[in-house]
Symmetry: C2
Subunit: 237 residues, 2 copies
């Protein structure tokens, strides 16, 4: 109906973006050819280069259109929390909800491709492709510039370096929860068809527990039970 703003129907350009998004998450980045994309989009082979200039530009646009909206929502959620706090630090759980919860909501949307895109995004975070890495870094810069200071204020006693690392860990847990396809799926048959919405409370409490974990708890690993274990423990190599 009012989907395509000025155009008439899902035009070729959008079909290419949707097809590319779905194929990238399935076959990877270099494993998807322009012929596969144009074939799935029922478009001519030259359509990719005509509409986007190159395959790389297509990839960039696939990320841009979704990531821009996601990060806009993230910042809006943080704005709302900070306005409600009226000067006081926002609670960590609220900050995590604004950042990761917003992303998980997008991942729970299976009808408009949000789920597909979040799988692609999680997967891309470990793909070191040069130009897309820089693109992601630029796209994230603005959001992190807001969320990290908010966490610093919320946890004034935790060293900033530690918060940075834990944010990194949390990104990993979320990416993996959405995109991960490891051996665990062998055991739990209902990892695929699990309601993505139920994933949200599970992951959020895990993240919050990790963020709040005692700093030096690790020290207890070695002397907790094993008396001498010099290689069985966790000593650095």
């Amino acid at each position: 109906m009012s989907d395509a703003s000025r155009a008439s129907v899902p035009d070729t350009r959008d079909r290419l973006l949707d097809a590319a998004e779905a194929l990238f998450v399935e076959h990877g980045f270099e494993g998807t050819s322009t012929r596969m994309i144009t074939g799935a989009a029922r478009a001519n082979l030259a359509a990719v280069n005509y509409h986007f200039g190159s395959k790389d530009a297509l990839v960039q646009e696939v990320f841009r259109r979704r990531l821009a909206e996601l990060n806009r929502q993230r910042l809006a959620a943080l704005d709302r929390l900070e306005a409600e706090a009226s000067g006081a630090p926002v609670r960590p759980s609220g900050i995590l909800g604004a950042f990761f919860g917003t992303a998980l909501q997008l991942a729970a949307d299976t009808e408009h491709g949000g789920h597909t895109f979040m799988r692609l995004l999680g997967r891309t975070n470990t793909e070191p492709n040069a130009f897309i890495r820089q693109f992601l870094a630029e796209e994230y810069a603005g959001v992190l510039g807001r969320f990290l200071p908010a966490l610093y204020r919320a946890l004034p006693d935790v060293p900033r370096e530690e918060i940075l690392w834990r944010f990194h860990f949390m990104m990993g847990a979320m990416s993996y929860a959405i995109a991960g396809t490891d051996g665990l799926q062998l055991f739990a048959g209902r990892f695929d068809d699990a309601d993505p919405a139920r994933l949200i409370p599970r992951l959020m409490s895990f993240l919050l527990g990790g963020l709040r974990a005692p700093l030096a708890e690790f020290g207890g690993f070695r002397d907790e039970r094993a008396g001498e274990g010099d290689e069985g423990g966790l000593a650095a190599a």
Copy 2:
């Protein structure tokens, strides 16, 4: 010295495996050609097909030789803990140490390619390549068959499904901590050159905090501060 068991020197076969391992983590799986591999290994182009039969078989062997040893060490560490516990449940921190700590130790070894391989492994967990996915699943089956029951025993009050999910999250945090290359690296300049050994206590306490997190803590997200936020919160879509 006693590296190459029966052969004389680092022979072509091993040079191919090492070169492939390093190139895969840098340029990805499909982004690495047999010519790049044989070139880096200073071998003839046909060497890959002669020694391994195909490029896919090479990939499989790259994972097999390292993963077999890693999982052997993991099981040995768990064996030791269970022997020391003499029937009693092993503490969660010990189990995590045996599984994730062992992997992190391998990742801290930058001299024998352990670090390179762990980056590759973390990256591959989100790469849905068909045949390597099944290969990883088979390789992990044995280890998970031991570690998950151990966690069930250690945390009898936590639903098994929840433990499964949290194990999944922990895998993600670890993979990302080693292989991740997201926008955070823009902020933290010392993410690359950071001593991998210092990563171990950081990650372990994060994982333990997440594993022990209260189950229903998430419920507090919505009513904690925001009174009505219907789209700013975490409600499922």
